[in-house]
Each structure stands twice: as structure tokens, then as C-alpha cells.
Symmetry: C2
Subunit: 231 residues, 2 copies
């Protein structure tokens, strides 16, 4: 008898994508078993267009045969379907605040850090300045707390997770300094708490050497693309 797909969980990802790592962490926290499918994002499969016609991007979660995209939206869905280790607070205002910080992670922190990786000269100087300003807000938010929501890991931690392991690689590859631990002691403490959380430790992260090689290549390719960005 053929195995039926309807109650399965599949994740379409790309090994070095910080957006995909968020979903892997969430599924690990929830104890959900899934099949991982690696997508070549530089030579996209027809499957990806079919599963995510609006964006054609990873990650895509396929649950009970139904596809869902966007890491933040997937995390909220996963939290509603599997209730152990809740990622969001119940209170509507606290919940809305978590959504706001999650957006800030993508639209501001990741955006400015990515530009710092993929630029040089004045554009890079501006990007580094913006990344530091964004992290000042994060530092303020984290002060005196173990995780963004307090004692327990949650949605904002997973959304900001790239700060802990990927941003240091981007700094090195881009030849910039953003994450000064003297300037950002609360972020440094959180990084430690985050990477030592048992669900995060247990999940796959790509080796630093391969990650570094990959982003050296991306930096080289993207410098001309971002050369006039914001000028």
C-alpha cells in the first residue's frame, strides 16, 4: 500500500538560510518530526513555484499536503497546531508586541546587517551605523531578561536567532564590527542563553567554514547590486 502524504510534515529549505533555521528550531521545540527537502535556490525547482507562487522562496512548510510560506507566518501556524512549548504569549497586547519585534528583526536588524555584508565604502559605513542603531533597540529590550519574552524562549528569539551565529560570520566576511560585547552586554548574554538552549543546540546549523565560504561568494556577487543602494 502506498504511503499517504496527508498527515505528514515536510519542510522545503536551503542549508544556509536563516529564515529556514527559524522553522527547524520551532519544529524541534515542538517535537514535530518532518521530512527536510533541500532546494537549490539558484536553480529553483518547479515544486517551489507550485508551493509558493507568490514569492517562490524558502522556507515552505507542507502540512497535511497544504503549503505555507514566510518564516514568521509558519512559526505562528506551527504554534497554533502544536501547543507544547508555546511561542507566543496569550495576552493580545503582548502578542502584538512580539509580532512587532519579529518584524523589526527582519525589516531592520537583518536588512541592515545584510547590507553591511554585501556592500563597501560609504554604503557599508551607513549600513553598519544603521545595524548598530537597530541593535541598540534590541539591547534595551533584552536588558535584565533571559529571552525576549522573559524566562522562556519564544517567537522573537527564533526570529532574532541569526544574530547569535550568523551575524558574527557576516561581520568577519564583510570586514566590519557591529556586535561589540562591551556595547551590547545583554545581546551577548542572550546569545549565550540562546545557543545553549537544548532545542537550539540539538538542531542542525551549517558549519562556520562552509557558511563563511558561501557568504564570501554572496558578498562578491552582490556588491555591484547594492552599490547605489540608498544613495
Amino acid at each position: 500500500m502506498e504511503k499517504r502524504d496527508e498527515s505528514s510534515v515536510k519542510l522545503v529549505g536551503f542549508w544556509v538560510s536563516p529564515f529556514v533555521h527559524r522553522v527547524r528550531w520551532a519544529l524541534k521545540l515542538k517535537g514535530v518530526e518532518y521530512e527536510y527537502i533541500e532546494e537549490d535556490i539558484f536553480n529553483k525547482s518547479p515544486l517551489l513555484s507550485e508551493l509558493n507562487p507568490l514569492y517562490k522562496k524558502v522556507p515552505v512548510l507542507v502540512h497535511d499536503g497544504k503549503p505555507l510560506s514566510d518564516s514568521s507566518i509558519i512559526l505562528e501556524y506551527v504554534d497554533q497546531k502544536w501547543r507544547s512549548n508555546p511561542l507566543f504569549p496569550d495576552d493580545p497586547y503582548q502578542r502584538a508586541q512580539a509580532h512587532l519585534w519579529a518584524r523589526f528583526a527582519d525589516e531592520k536588524v537583518l536588512e541592515s546587517a545584510w547590507l553591511a555584508l554585501c556592500s563597501e565604502g560609504k554604503t557599508q559605513e551607513r549600513a553598519v551605523k544603521q545595524a548598530i542603531e537597530n541593535l541598540e533597540h534590541v539591547e534595551e529590550k533584552l536588558k535584565g531578561k533571559r529571552f525576549f519574552g522573559g524566562d522562556i524562549i519564544g517567537h522573537v528569539d527564533l526570529m532574532m536567532g541569526f544574530i547569535s551565529y550568523m551575524l558574527p560570520v557576516w561581520e568577519e566576511v564583510g570586514g566590519v564590527k557591529i556586535l561589540d560585547p562591551h556595547k551590547f552586554p545583554a545581546i551577548a548574554a542572550w546569545t549565550n542563553n540562546f545557543l545553549n538552549h537544548e532545542a537550539i543546540k540539538a538542531e542542525y546549523l551549517p558549519p562556520t567554514a562552509e557558511t563563511s565560504t558561501y557568504f564570501q561568494w554572496r558578498r562578491k556577487e552582490l556588491i555591484p547590486v547594492y552599490a547605489s543602494y540608498g544613495q
Copy 2:
């Protein structure tokens, strides 16, 4: 005795902002009374920085003295606090899909239409092409339906609402054609359903002449800024 502020609803907005109009519509749908505070976004008040330190943008909803920003996040909060006329479906998958289309409204549809308004030449041609491609997805989604979620107005309709009344002004000011009713009959039908919905009809929208004058000025100011965008 001084009037206490804790149970009040205030909305900080800007008269012509499509992001603010979404919140006004949601509050009208829910029957929530509120105080509207107009912000001069070109000469921002200290109040705005205090209420929205991460983005310093409108809209900001202040409920029980607590501020909240980002139109999509505000809409979800409003829906959770006032349960009449639900804006979201209950089913987690349908809910996630609504979030996805709401993101598509901002990140793709509005973004490309805005660029078409604020550019010229090759940049504008590309933006118009992208806007039309984005609307092809919207057309497909709306086919055979009164509103995005079916028979009842909801979150995605409010997020896409700018297509109905503001995009035509942008087309005229930008001197471009995007919304061809022969190409997009489902969007044309939805526009009619949307603008004739009693909550939308009852809510303030800025007069077309003033809106047009405002965006003529914005177009002129922003053409140099976007001149090299995406090149």
C-alpha cells in the same frame, strides 16, 4: 475630576496614509469609538517617537494607554480585543493564508505601485510590469468571490483596500495604466463590493483632488530618490 485615559482608544494618523485608513476601517467595522490625532509626518512630533520608537511611523493605536504600531499588527490586535465582525478565519491554515496575502499586499502590490508612482523611464516601466504581475495573483485569488475570504469582508480586504481608491489616483498622477478592468474583472468587481460596504462607505476618505495634489508633490520629490532603484 480629571478624565482618566486608561480605557480610551486613540489613533495617531496622517490624512492620506493608506496604512492609517486600514485601521479606521477596522475600528468602524468593530464599532469602536476613538479619538483621532493627526500627525505631521514631515515634522514629526516627540509624541510619535515616544509611541513608536522602533519605526517612528503612523498609524499608532493607543489603547488603555498602551501604544501599538504597524497597521497589520494593529488590525489583528483590534480583532482580538473586539470580537464582533471577525476579521480573521478561526482555522489556523486559513488564518496563515490571510497573513500571507496581507504581506503580499504590502511587500509586493503596494511596493510596486508606489514605485510606479514615484519613478519615470525604465524604472517606471519595470515597476508597472511588476505591479501588473502582482495584480494577476490578486485577480486569480478573487475570482468568483465577493471578498478575499469569501462573502464577508476581512483582514485581507482592508490590507488591499488601497487598490480600490488610491491606486487609481496613483495611476493618474504617475501617468501609467495598471488596473485595466478588462484584464482584471474580479478586482473591478471587488472594488465595487469594497467601496459599497457600509463600514467602508461610512468612513472618512480624503477627497480625490487633495489626494491627487499631495501625490503630485510626492512624485516630484521622490523621483530622484528612486531613480537608480533596482538598477
